[in-house]
Subunit: 277 residues, 2 copies
């Protein structure tokens, strides 16, 4: 299978699962449910959940075991977009070519929709049918790792410092702080969690975590190169491109231990390196 | 011990535990951490966590086993206050006699502080030292129940419908919808979770859940009577007072099965009925 058709297949699988997680739009409070559904189901590359599924497979697990965690991570990613777009935050009116949540549904609904998506993510993490479900201890560790990755020492911390420096000159340590946290932390944990729910050995889990960290940094640097922002602004585009290539190589090196089973993860690293949008 | 000194002792215990959960103000991102700390540590009656500890004790558990869940519930309560006070929501400038979070720290920090407190709550739920910690299955069920109680079918749903009806005439089914959800759902689950982490039998857990539901309704009705809002506006103050008395009696009836161990829960029902602020 080519990477393109693999990504298409996985995206459809994840979209079906997300559709099943979200509350129906006709149920009260209807507007809030509609806002949540539109925020999650109106597109998106699904990089993070695809990564979780791929990491689970590389570690010898079944995809179904990773599906609740993959959905939870995508719900979290979408909550962060809804809140980041708010007027008091990045003040973006559009998202994925459509009106942002707060523009279409109002600011109060966007705040609540983000809150509800984050809450739903933790709800979904507790689910899974008993046949494919990892044991309770592993699920608990998954919840713990995800909550670390998206708290003030992770994603939310990155966003806070990013907002703080939007009107200030950014120094390299700050750019690195934001890079490892704002989107990096959730991407890194996406890979690690795939290993965890697969029941992987510690060594494999740690290799996938390092792979995820490099991939997260890579993702952010490519973002910065495409937007000419953050890191690329501080060290320049040409240096950033060198750094990106290096990160993709380091990511790939980490998954050598999976041999042929790591092929998809290898291709995903190239995909992130070469993406144009 | 009188109820007053019991409440004082429990409040201090919970405040110490919350202090230990929150990230230090000097750590980056400092402003965000400061906002979180001030939102949580600047007062509050701690009704919910006190209820969790009391329910745990009534069900024969050790307080330490319930402390992480009690803290998580109080963090969630405070996240909801920070977001509810935002200009786009209830637009309140003061909270507990001080400047609201968004007034003191700015709207963007208040949004992120709420997000971070909610995230921290789930993080704290995974903690607890191994000696007092309930087994992983029980913790997972606790996380699941809490996430149900504060999602769109619970607290966030109640807030969404409340906002929707602030400019409309409220009918009785809507008042009841809001009453059971906006603050009721979190209070109800506070009691249930105490039983759960105590390792209580199903029958006891269910009795405490019903007790918590009556207490949650009671809490909201007393709120409405004090503010002359919501339910009290629809059915009148005098009818509301009758309803409140009835609810406190029904709550107390549920905990008869605990005999003398239910004394504190009994006193808490009277406390909620008779509170003046």
């Amino acid at each position: 299978m080519t990477l393109d058709s693999y990504l298409k297949k996985q995206t459809e699988k994840i979209n079906r699962a997300l559709e099943g997680c979200l509350p129906p739009a006709r149920e009260r409070p209807a507007k809030l449910h509609e806002a949540m559904r539109e925020a999650v189901l109106s597109g998106g590359k699904r990089v993070r959940p695809i990564l979780t599924l791929a990491a689970c497979e590389a570690a010898g697990g079944k995809e179904e075991a990773a599906l609740p965690a993959a959905c939870a991570i995508e719900l979290i990613h979408n909550y962060s977009l809804v809140h980041d777009d708010l007027p008091a935050m990045d003040d973006d009116d559009t998202r994925r070519g459509r009106a942002a949540c707060h523009v279409k549904f109002g600011e109060e609904t966007a705040i609540l929709a983000g809150d509800a998506l984050l809450t739903l993510a933790f709800n979904v993490l507790c689910r899974g049918d008993s046949s494919s479900r990892p044991n309770a201890g592993r699920i608990l560790r998954t919840i713990h790792l995800i909550s670390e990755a998206i708290g003030t020492r992770g994603m939310v911390g990155g966003q806070a410092v990013d907002l703080e420096f939007q009107k200030k000159e950014m120094d390299l340590p700050t750019a690195e702080y934001i890079n490892t946290r704002k989107s990096g932390a959730l991407i890194a944990v996406s890979a690690r969690v795939g290993a965890l729910v697969a029941g992987a050995a510690k060594k494999e889990e740690e290799a996938l975590y390092r792979y995820g960290k490099f991939l997260g940094l890579l993702f952010q640097i490519v973002d910065d190169i495409l937007d000419c922002q953050g890191y690329a602004k501080v060290i320049g585009v040409s240096e950033s491109k060198k750094e990106a290539l290096l990160l993709s190589q380091r990511a790939k090196k980490e998954i050598k231990i999976f041999g042929k089973k790591g092929t998809t993860l290898n291709q995903l690293a190239d995909f992130v390196l070469n993406r144009k949008a």
